[in-house]
Amino acid sequence: MFQGPIIFGLTVNEILLAVFLTLALIFTYKTLVERDLVKAVVYSGGEAVSYALAFVVMYAPDLVLAYVAVGLGIYSALFLFVITRTERYEKEVVEA
């Protein structure tokens, strides 16, 4: 088994985990604030891939199988089905 170097007292796995989870955080934030719902679906696909990278680094292949199948294959299709029936752009909420 390959043992990587230790940087600032952290192993390579821990650093990669931090990087990928930060990516997932950024994509989640973009999904929340995006007004164009199709773009939000694509951002949530990126979030699913980031979480899958983090799960790979944590040696959890079961979660990779379930998370990517749901996040890229099913969730995005479900939201596209819904968006074709409503509006693509989220409107600004006006306080009455």
């Binding site: 199948a69 294959g73 099913i74 089905f81």
Partner: protein
């Protein structure tokens, strides 16, 4: 991303990291231990240990936890999923899946259709291998079912819903498979007490979702069969539960997407609450 947003994200991440480093350095917050917790130690020592009373007979710890040690949780989870699908069907209860009302049937281009013909065969094979090996390698019933659920979606998107309707898909057939899967899970779960009663043993010695025989409840499913000098491991009930979950989840997802993919005017005419 605008520059203010980027700046806000960077500043807040840096502040959070600084706060975390200070808090950990001062000993203000508990830090996760790198040792195994007692619960993890229990599972690792008992799951594939034939000399243990509480063994799960499966080399794959996660499937064993899901269907053996925490089996009832998974049954409830499947029931919640079933109820969600029933709720979706209630919204569209008057919409019939017929070839005449299922859209134009044009589909996508020839290139996409040709590649989809190859890929569409592969997805069920992947799903079956994930579910049938679920007690030996990473995977299991839900993962296999979620993988299988993509296949009808791909068919509906690349070919059309009309093709699916012409090939004889209907809400009733899919709902039958779905319910049969859930019933099989229930029957396997309560099979052990009934086997004991049928064998004439004392009633009550045998638990719901009992995977392996225990010293105080001696009847259970065998964990392996010997065939022609080979030992085939199927881990008691785990293989059968995974198979039933595969059918339940995949038919449920196919049902939901078949209903949602109908043309908008059909859904508006047939779906919804009658006025």
């Amino acid at each position: 991303m605008s520059s203010e947003e980027a700046l806000a994200i960077i500043v807040s991440l840096a502040a959070a990291a600084l706060l975390a480093v200070v808090a950990v350095g001062q000993g203000l917050v508990p830090v996760a231990s790198t040792d195994l917790t007692p619960l993890a130690r229990f599972y690792l020592l008992n799951v594939y240990n034939g000399s243990s009373q509480l063994w799960g007979a499966s080399p794959e710890v996660i499937t064993s936890i899901l269907w053996d040690y925490r089996g009832l949780d998974t049954v409830y989870e499947t029931a919640v999923f079933f109820l969600a699908i029933i709720a979706t069907l209630t919204l569209f209860r008057d919409a019939k899946l017929l070839p005449e009302t299922a859209g134009s049937g044009r589909g996508m281009t020839v290139i996409v259709k040709t590649v989809t013909r190859i890929t569409f065969v592969t997805i069920p094979i992947i799903a079956a291998s994930i579910a049938l090996h679920g007690h030996l390698t990473p995977g299991g019933g839900f993962q296999g079912g979620a993988a299988f659920g993509v296949a009808p979606l791909l068919l509906i998107t690349a070919f059309s819903l009309r093709l699916a309707a012409e090939r004889g898909w209907s809400k009733g057939k899919l709902l039958t498979v779905r319910t049969a899967g859930l019933l099989a899970i229930g029957l396997i779960a309560v099979s052990t007490p009934y086997i004991i009663a049928a064998l004439g043993g004392k009633a009550g010695i045998g638990y719901v979702m009992q995977n392996q025989p225990k010293a105080w409840a001696e009847v259970g499913w065998p964990y392996a069969i010997a065939y022609a000098g080979m030992r085939v491991l199927f881990s008691g009930t785990l293989l059968f539960l995974n198979l039933a979950e595969l059918f339940a989840v995949s038919a449920g997802l196919a049902l939901v997407f078949t209903v949602i993919a109908m043309p908008t005017e059909v859904l508006e005419k047939g779906g919804g609450v009658k006025k």
